[in-house]
């Protein structure tokens, strides 16, 4: 018997005054020309009053501003509060640093929006149409060149150059020359590594290669080369830099652009439906540059000697008193900003125009996006110099005052040696843990992983595992600087144990774990940690302060792989228990054997 009921018993309520307007008054009337044909209608542009325009722009800006404030402010506050409360010293140049941090926030906001509007459509168009229009060698060449281009456009790369000014030429001449005289070649070397990673990653998508053998094949030469370099006392000082470069490259430009090309190629070949296909490129892009930078260092070693470098550095310091205009402060940043973005855009444009023979769909939007990203890059570079690097270097140079005597801080050491050391290590651990947990890319990775593993690997488990790994990595990196442990002693066992864990892990967990290392190092964390390490190193008279980032990369790989193996074991135990409790093994045998016997008889 069907019944009908009233859905609600509410009184009809109207809160605002309704004014009615017939839509017929709004829509245009058809216009007929002399020949009796209707003229196509073109809607006129709106003329907005300032108030309305403001209401339109305000939410747009607000969302993006809040995103960046969330990325920068907690970290900066943590450093500042730690310095004031635990180390009892004021922040020097507080106004300049605040201005710099504001510049970082604004710069990142402009840059990310420009990236979204101007560069990503390029990347997507390339990814979807290049593989169908061009032959594989052309596609791979484009992927390779794109890898180089995106490296130059990566905002955190500027931090490497900024770090070069802190390194002392006497204690580490090769490191100094790589970061100053060879800095462009260094970035190019990193770019070649990323390009090679893009090529191999694309081939991996195409032919469904497993990531495990690729990791073994990359790591064995990398570790052997590390061993070789660590035996040379002068060269061994660049190891920290080489391994850090891997972490620096995988940022907000490289990952989406290279990925969209790779996924597009895989999709065009009819592969890559299994959700796992997006992984791997990030891993390779953080491993290959290590190899190229070590190669570059060996080359530099073969062409110059430490004495020559020190002499040249003195000459250049003595000779140049008045810098030319393009080396003065707002202009250097402006030129670096332009040089970072323009070549990449030109390259993408030329590929669109001459390889794909396709016109830009919305040239206005793209021009807007590109100018935004250039402006953003320039502001970000300014903020990097005056905000992040300065703040990081300052905290790094003051934290050791907790356990040792630092000139310039009156009451240092502030605590007894052991307590102070614990405080410094805890500071580093919390910094790494907090910065990673707040990284939006990690949240996204967590969601992907949870759905890929059908919930066996929970999002929060992954996020905590990665953050824990990064925290421990940064703490170990700081300990390395304090006790002057050669970085090879930490890296080689670290990566060897990662290899062993990889051997025992599922393909899925291997993909996730190795990629998680690259995901965590964003454009705010990298400069801060890098300059903190260098400041720390200078304060305790270590030879060089690199290596913290590389420890922050290996940390999450090991922690995520271990958790992965634990999850694997838990799942298999669950299945075994389920089978045992239901006697599935026995029952199935009993059920099948008589059946077969009856059939055969």
């Amino acid at each position: 018997m069907p019944k009908e009921i009233r859905f609600g018993a509410f009184v009809r309520e109207v809160n605002s005054r309704h004014r009615y307007l017939s839509y017929n008054h709004v829509t245009p009337k058809p216009i007929i020309d002399d020949n009796g044909e209707s003229v196509p209608y073109h809607a006129p542009k709106f003329k907005l009053r300032t108030g309305v325009a403001f209401r339109l722009i305000q939410p747009y800006v607000q969302v993006r501003l809040v995103d960046q404030i969330r990325a920068v402010l907690p970290l900066a506050l943590y450093l500042v509060l730690f310095q004031i409360i635990v180390l009892r010293s004021d922040v020097a140049d507080a106004w300049i640093i605040s201005g710099g941090l504001v510049a970082v926030i604004l710069g990142l906001m402009f840059f990310m929006e420009g990236l979204r509007v101007g560069l990503m459509p390029f990347g997507e168009a390339l990814g979807s149409s290049l593989p169908t229009r061009a032959k594989l060698p052309v596609v791979l060449t484009v992927a390779f060149l794109l890898g180089i281009g995106v490296t130059f456009a990566e905002p955190a790369i500027g931090a490497l150059k900024a770090a070069g000014t802190i390194v002392s030429v006497k204690s580490a001449p090769y490191l100094y020359t790589l970061l100053n005289d060879w800095s462009e070649v260094l970035v190019l070397g990193v770019g070649i590594g990323v390009g090679a990673a893009a090529v191999v990653g694309t081939l991996r998508f195409l032919y469904d290669w497993s990531l495990k053998p690729l990791i073994y094949m990359t790591l064995i030469p990398t570790i052997s080369l590390t061993l070789y370099i660590s035996l040379n006392p002068e060269l061994s000082k660049i190891l920290g830099l080489a391994w850090d470069c891997g972490a620096v490259t995988t940022g907000p430009v490289t990952v989406p652009l290279v990925l969209s090309l790779g996924i597009g190629i895989a999709a065009a070949a009819g592969k890559g439906g299994d959700g796992m296909s997006g992984f791997g490129i990030v891993t390779l892009a953080s491993l290959f540059p290590i190899l190229t930078v070590m190669g570059l260092a060996i080359y530099v070693h073969s062409v110059t000697t430490p004495e020559e470098i020190i002499a040249a550095a003195h000459v250049s310091k003595a000779g140049v008193d008045i810098l030319p205009w393009f080396d003065k402060t707002p202009w250097v940043e402006a030129i670096t900003g332009l040089r970072a973005i323009v070549p990449l855009v030109l390259f993408l444009f030329l590929v669109m125009r001459f390889v794909l023979k396709e016109k830009l769909k919305q040239p206005g939007n793209i021009a807007y996006g590109i100018s935004l990203s250039v402006i953003g890059m320039i502001i970000f570079n300014l903020g990097l110099t005056y905000g992040l690097s300065k703040l990081g270097a300052q905290s790094g140079s003051i934290v050791p005052a907790a356990f040792t005597t630092i000139s310039g801080i009156d009451s240092s050491p502030l605590y007894n040696w052991l307590t102070g050391l614990m405080i410094a290590i805890a500071f580093a651990w919390i910094l790494g843990f907090g910065a990673t947990l707040a990284e939006p890319a990690l949240n996204a990775l967590g969601i992907t992983v949870q759905s890929l593993t059908n919930g066996a690997f929970k999002k929060s488990t992954l996020m905590y595992a990665v953050s824990f790994g990064v925290g421990c990595g940064i703490a170990i990196g700081v300990a390395k600087i304090i006790f002057n442990i050669p970085i090879a002693w930490l890296l080689i066992p670290g990566y060897l144990s990662a290899l062993v864990l990889t051997w025992f892990s599922n393909e899925e967990y291997v993909n996730v774990a190795w990629d998680s290392a690259g995901v965590t190092t964003g454009p705010v964390t990298v400069p801060l940690v890098l300059s903190m390490g260098l400041g720390f190193g200078n304060a305790v008279d270590a030879i060089e302060g690199f290596g913290i980032l590389s420890m922050a990369s290996i940390g999450p790989i090991i922690s995520v792989l271990s958790v992965g193996i634990w999850v694997q074991w838990k799942v298999s135990r669950h299945h075994r228990k389920y089978d045992e409790s239901h006697h599935i093994g026995k029952l199935a045998k009993q059920a099948i054997t008589p059946l077969n016997q009856t059939k055969s008889s």
């Binding site: 018997m1 069907p2 009908e4 009921i5 859905f7 609600g8 109207v14 709106f46 509007v117």
Partner: protein, 134 residues
Amino acid sequence: MNQKREMVVLTDISLITAVVQRGKADELVKAAQEVGAQGASIHYSHGRGVRERLGILGLAVEAEKETIHIIVSSDQANRVFEIIYRVGDFDTPGMGFMWVTPVEKAATFIPDDILEKFAREDRRNPFDVRPNEI
């Protein structure tokens, strides 16, 4: 005795459809639920029109949209209509568009206590004639 299976048909329903920029739907649905809407379904869609007419300001408007369908009782319709207008800033260009459509009938799970209180038997829509009764 008639042993036909029973089903409950809801009447007096309106459908509110609102098209807003991607990412805004959750906020609007929450506001609508606070004035009594039961739920909503959200579809991803892609819009054209007003955004292009805004010129350079159009860049502040996301071309990717979310389309929200909310089924409300006809008594609620105005309240939900108004709250979406206000929370979604529909008096600003590019923020969204919505409309209300009358719905003939709907069906879903109805809790027993509500059924006992309000349901009346077989007061069918006069246009709804089932073939086996002719």
